[in-house]
């Protein structure tokens, strides 16, 4: 079994100062090298906050975060910076995360130069060309602005930008929730292939258990800021231990006729 790359223990996050609202109530999570971990939950479950806390994008009020054996819980930003390249993020809405005034070329080349992964523009361009091919986008994209691409293409740029920096860990937060099914399958397939090629560890946040099933090795089910259930996808999906997980699974409509699916089942859903 591979060692843990990113672990968090007893993580708590409070929003809004001293009298604030606690949104994470002691979460333990561990992500191993090369593994894709799903974080699933309904709105307000704390899944996005957990992701942000792991990346040190929000402050934690209790608990600790270790990355590659090092305690980063309270690491000053200056000391975090060298780690930032190794920890990348793919966002939900690429329209909001890609600078609309920059060309795709600039969006992809600049981080390489900034992090010193390419000595000069020519070298950076060469690497960009390679990754574009990997995410199956034509080179002509480079001279476009984000708004000139389709949603699926933009999301592939988001993936390319994260992968270019050769990170160890990638956080993907609801990255397919705005996409059509046919585009979604394309993005998921690409992401899965890429993370295998690069040996990436990934946290994949989604509200959609079916999507989690398609790309993740293990899954954490979050509810009210706590881990409700955790395990390999094979275990959790075939044999959920928590009632809540079972209710979530049962609430997903499958594309096959299932008479009685809509009928109430002895009130357990009201508890959800």
């Amino acid at each position: 079994m591979a060692e843990n790359l990113l672990t968090a223990t007893g993580l708590e996050v409070v929003y809004g100062g001293r009298r604030g609202v606690k949104v994470l109530h002691g979460v333990d999570i561990a992500i191993r090298r090369g593994e894709t971990v799903g974080i699933v939950g309904e709105s307000g479950s704390g899944k996005t906050t957990l992701g942000r806390a792991l990346l040190r994008l929000v402050d934690v009020s209790a608990g600790s975060i270790h990355f590659d054996g090092r305690d980063i819980t309270h690491l000053p930003e200056a000391e975090m910076r060298p780690l930032r390249r190794r920890i990348q993020m793919i966002f939900q809405d690429p329209m909001a995360s890609l600078n609309p005034r920059h060309t795709i070329r600039r969006i992809l080349v600049e981080p390489l130069l900034l992090h010193g992964l390419a000595k000069n523009a020519a070298e950076a361009e060469a690497r960009v060309a390679k990754i574009l091919e990997r995410v199956t986008l034509p080179a002509a994209c480079l001279d476009r602005n984000p708004h000139e691409l389709s949603g699926g293409q933009r999301q592939r740029i988001g993936i390319a930008r994260a992968a270019l920096l050769e990170p160890d860990f990638v956080l993907a937060d609801e990255i397919v929730s705005g996409l059509d099914v046919s585009t979604q399958a394309q993005v998921l397939k690409l992401l899965k292939g890429l993370s295998a090629d690069l040996g990436l560890a990934m946290a994949f946040i989604s509200h959609d258990l079916s999507v989690i099933r398609a790309v993740c090795d293990r899954v954490y089910v979050l509810r009210f800021g706590k881990v409700e259930e955790e395990g390999t996808c094979a275990e959790v999906f075939a044999n959920p231990k928590s009632d809540y997980t079972r209710i979530l699974l049962d609430a997903i409509p499958l594309p096959e006729i299932n008479p009685g699916w809509l009928d109430p089942k002895t009130g357990i859903e009201d508890a959800a």
Binding site: S182, A185, R213, L248, E256, I257, L262
Partner: protein
């Protein structure tokens, strides 16, 4: 033979915003009383355009270039505006997609729920209040008195969607157009809302056009389904037939493209480029 409640025939439309590009291509479908028909497709398929046409709220940039929409034997497209006004909201109503924006944030629920009852059914304030309470009970809202006094922001997304369903059924319409009514909701809430729409539809014998991109939702709530691509009907029929025995390559590919929690290998098979090429050839794009 009794005529269908709704019969769309040869409906075509173009978008002036996209230089007169066709957005509906010779669309035909019919709906019997009490039937639930799913209108499915990916973005740009034209499903929302059809819904808007049914409600008479097509944007000005969309021009209908042919076809008819017969509702109880009369063409909605050529009917005098005054008659159309009498039908919209009363005979045909809408359950909107986004419960956050569909309610007026500055008015209490009671005012929004009783407008139609008072103006179009001539109920007194008192009568409308009683009827509104009944409606909220019917959509399983606990403490309906409190909800009537509430402003929309005081309610959760699921509660607001319940209020909107109550409003859609308030005037006993014959047809309800549900435009992606559960897309913005969590799955557990989605299931409750789907059940509610199904129950209301059954109790009142209302026909429903259910716009969605989710074949799973179609399977659970629709009697029949019309699948669209680029404004063209690709496949239509009874839900069981279409899902169990899809005829068109696109329908098959869409089924394969959707991830499923009960199948680890599903959801990673994009619709093949060849299928899109076939679609474009059939429809005559480029």
């Amino acid at each position: 033979m009794t005529a269908s409640l709704l019969s769309i025939s040869g409906l075509s439309a173009v978008s002036d915003r996209e230089g007169g590009a066709p957005i509906l291509r010779d669309v035909s479908l019919s709906l019997e009383r009490g039937e639930v028909r799913g209108l499915v497709g990916e973005s740009g398929a034209g499903k929302s355009t059809i819904a808007k046409a049914l409600l008479g709220i097509l944007p000005r940039t969309v021009r209908v270039t042919g076809g008819t929409i017969q509702f109880e034997g009369r063409d909605l497209l050529t009917m005098p505006a005054r008659d159309l006004r009498d039908i919209m909201g009363a005979q045909i109503s809408l359950i909107p997609q986004d419960p956050q924006t569909a309610l007026n944030p500055g008015r209490r629920i009671e005012a929004q729920l009783t407008d139609g009852l008072r103006l179009r059914r001539g109920l007194s304030r008192r009568e409308a209040h009683v009827r509104a309470l009944k409606l909220l009970e019917e959509v399983h809202i606990r403490d309906p008195e409190r909800v009537l006094r509430a402003f929309p922001h005081e309610l959760s997304g699921g509660m607001r969607q319940r209020v909107l369903i109550a409003a859609a059924f308030a005037l006993e319409p014959k047809l309800v157009v549900a435009d992606e009514p559960t897309t913005a909701l969590d799955v557990t809430v989605q299931k409750q809302i789907l059940r509610l729409i199904r129950d209301m539809q059954k109790v009142h014998g209302t026909a429903v056009i259910f716009v969605t991109h989710d074949l799973g939702v179609v399977a659970q709530i629709c009697d029949s389904v019309t699948l669209l691509y680029a404004g063209k009907v690709i496949e239509a029929g009874a839900t069981a037939d279409v899902l169990q025995n899809p005829k068109h390559a696109y329908t098959k590919a869409l089924m394969a493209a959707g991830p499923r929690y009960d199948r680890p290998d599903a959801g990673l098979e994009p619709v093949p480029q060849a299928v899109f090429e076939q679609l474009r050839a059939e429809i005559g794009i480029r």
